[in-house]
Each structure stands twice: as C-alpha cells, then as structure tokens.
Symmetry: C2
DNA sequence: CAGATTAATCGTACTTTTACGATGAATAAG
DNA sequence: CTTATTCATCGTAAAAGTACGATTAATCTG
C-alpha cells in the first residue's frame, strides 16, 4: 500500500470502510449467513460448508471478530462463534445513514 | 491470495462482497460524499479535497466506476463523474436484504 | 501553432489480503 | 496415560490493493 493514508480521513469514513472491508469477501458473507442460520453456535461446521481450508476459515473468523461483527468463546476443544447483533445493528444504521446522506441531493448530470 | 476462491461462492455473496469492497476504503467513501454533495458533476475538485495524489484519486474513481457505483463522461479536457443512483439503490436494497436475512433468527448464544 | 491544463495510464514500490499445509495447544475419549 | 479431535497460529507463497511520480493524450487558451 506504500504508507496507508487511512488516518487522513474522518472517523466515520474509516468506520464505514472498515465494516465494508469485513464483509468484502464472499467467504465472510457466507460465514455470517451460516452463523445466522444456526440455532446453536457453530464452529467447525463452517469449514464443512465452505470450500476453504480450516486455517483459512479460521483466518476469516478472526477478521470478522476483529471487526466486531461476531463473538467467539472457547468451549472445550472447540470454539463457538455467533453474530454480535448489537454491532450489526449499529453498522446497519450507519450504512443507511450513509445512503441517506448521499441521497439527500439526488443530482445526476451524467 | 494464491488462487482466488471467489468463484466457489454464490452470485449474491459475490455481488455483496464486490460492492462492499468498492466502499471498503475511506477515500472512496469520501469521494462518494463529494459527488453527492455537488450539484454539478465534479472531477479534479475531488483531488483538491482529498489528501491524495491525482493519480491515486483517478485510480479510486476507476474502481468505483468498475463497481458500477459512479458514471463518468469526458467533457473536453476534464472528466465529469457522478453517482449512479440506480445502482446505488439496488445495492442499498441488497444490503438491507442481507441484514434482514441475517436477522431472521436472532440467536446469540455467546 | 505553442503552451497550459486536465486527467488517464504506466511503471514502480511496498503493504495487505488470501490461501494452504504444518505445527502446536487444549481438551475429550478410550 | 495415550490417542484422537478441534481449532488457532506460524510460515510461506502468490495475488491484489494502495500510493506516488512521470509520462502521455486530449483539449482548451493565447
């Protein structure tokens, strides 16, 4: 990237970008869907569903967790993940807020 | 990336991920805000506002255009960009649809 | 036509992301 | 206690992303 200029932008812009980055990979979207669809928390089942190696899935989970979108707790030899609905709701609002902001002036000249 | 596994996921997942990727950088979020805030189409003004070099801004614009989020037309020696509201609305809906899908079963066990 | 302006593209450098296999740590099962 | 299971982490490799300066192409201006 040659020295990230991220810090030069507003906090809001950085937040939205970070959230978008978290879901900017089909594997992570798929993981979220799996987590949302199960009643109980899942872990290795995700690996079975996705066309990726275990280590790669673990990496994606780590990123989702770092973004605050999911929670993870250790349950014996296995890890239990689930969606952090609070954070999700927050981002949903932030997203719609961005959309609203953009659409206040709906002028398309080209 | 070592051979992208993108193709192994559903089209919807790919679409959402691609859109998220487009706004997964604060500079691109900022660009969209600038475009939305102006009545007339802008081009080089974006460079003045952002803390980035002209070539870098041009690159970001290219990505936004490739994602279908903005339109661009050449106007003499300068280029005129503006938001593709139709695509934006589409993605807004797709996004809310994803949120809804995820929140159908709101079970958090951890 | 000559020079200035605007913006795309090229070349380059460096960082980050994506992906895998292998290893390691923790716990469950025998 | 030994073995199997589950998952995180490490090391590595390759691809993509980010950023810049320089160059180029197009078009205005004088």
């Amino acid at each position: 990237m040659a020295i990230a200029k991220t810090a030069a932008f507003s906090k809001k812009e950085q937040e939205i970008a970070a959230f978008a980055k978290a879901i900017a990979h089909p594997a992570r979207v798929a993981i979220l869907k799996v987590l949302a669809g199960k009643t109980e928390c899942v872990c290795g089942q995700i690996v079975d569903v996705l066309p990726l190696a275990q280590s790669t899935v673990s990496q994606h989970l780590k990123e989702l967790k770092a973004a605050g979108l999911i929670n993870g707790t250790v349950e014996g030899p296995r890890s239990c993940y689930c969606i952090n609905w609070k954070a999700f709701e927050k981002f949903r609002n932030e997203f719609n807020s961005l959309f609203d902001t953009l659409q206040v002036k709906n002028n398309s000249c080209c």
